[in-house]
Symmetry: C2
Subunit: 155 residues, 2 copies
């Protein structure tokens, strides 16, 4: 259990507005509250869906799983072989989290040995364009990132 820590308690709340009461001295630019920043980004912070969603699909294996499942449904063992360096433990957990959030569905076949198939739900499908866009960006800009990293590490 204890699968909850990922879901931040709502009352650990973000008080974005108290910053408005803090005038700055040195660099006199007034700062936007998180509410503003986030509104500029195009969403409402009131119940912070961003972190709620991003923390899940941004998990170490989640996006990779979704990507693999977007090609066709996979069984547990297929996924394990498709992503060789995921531990069985994390595979189980990632799949369950994805299922819990409604991105994928799980179908058990009472064969012997039993087999379990995972596939994207419509909700999961609807995420793919945005996810692929991010992946495409990653591919295009990976060299630049590698270069920046090298430069940084040299210093």
């Amino acid at each position: 259990m204890k699968r909850e820590p990922l879901a931040r308690s709502p009352k650990s709340g973000n008080r974005f507005l108290d910053s408005a009461a803090q005038p700055l001295r040195i660099v006199s630019v007034e700062e936007p509250t998180i509410a503003e920043a986030v509104l500029n980004a195009g969403f409402d912070m009131s119940n912070c869906p961003v972190r709620d969603v991003m923390d899940h699909i941004g998990g170490k294996w989640s996006s990779l799983m979704l990507l693999v499942l977007s090609t066709k449904p996979h069984r547990f063992g297929e996924l394990k072989r498709a992503v060789p360096d995921i531990s069985q433990r994390m595979l189980t957990q990632t799949l369950r989290d994805l299922q819990r959030d409604g991105y994928i569905s799980r179908h058990v076949f009472a064969t012997v040995p039993p087999s379990v198939e995972y596939r994207l739900t419509p909700l999961g499908e609807s995420l793919m364009p945005a996810l692929r866009a991010l992946v495409a960006w990653a591919v295009d800009n990976h060299p630049r990132i590698a270069e920046a990293r090298q430069t940084f590490d040299a210093a």
Copy 2:
């Protein structure tokens, strides 16, 4: 040990499928390898840029930082206030990782007390459209996810 509290050592920074050290096992006969799956998704797995990039911008705070910085440059303290529930330690680390990968730049002003400003680089800016698309999706679909989660937890 390997405390290295803040500076992630360059060598440990690449623990995701180091393509050189751990070649993909193309063992499966009947199912698509990760390489195939990922090629279908539109990129080359040979040096796995996806996890390399996704694991960073998909980090717990990275995307939020980028989002906030996309509105305007921020100082350290501003960021801290803008995202009240990030610890100073994680803020420092997130910013340094982002800087290392070339998403943001860091400018120190020798005022007193000293101030440090962070801002998006052109590379960071170029990521924003894709990131915003993901955020937009998150906002649009958050209710569905919450519902799925509730349904799942009920069972």
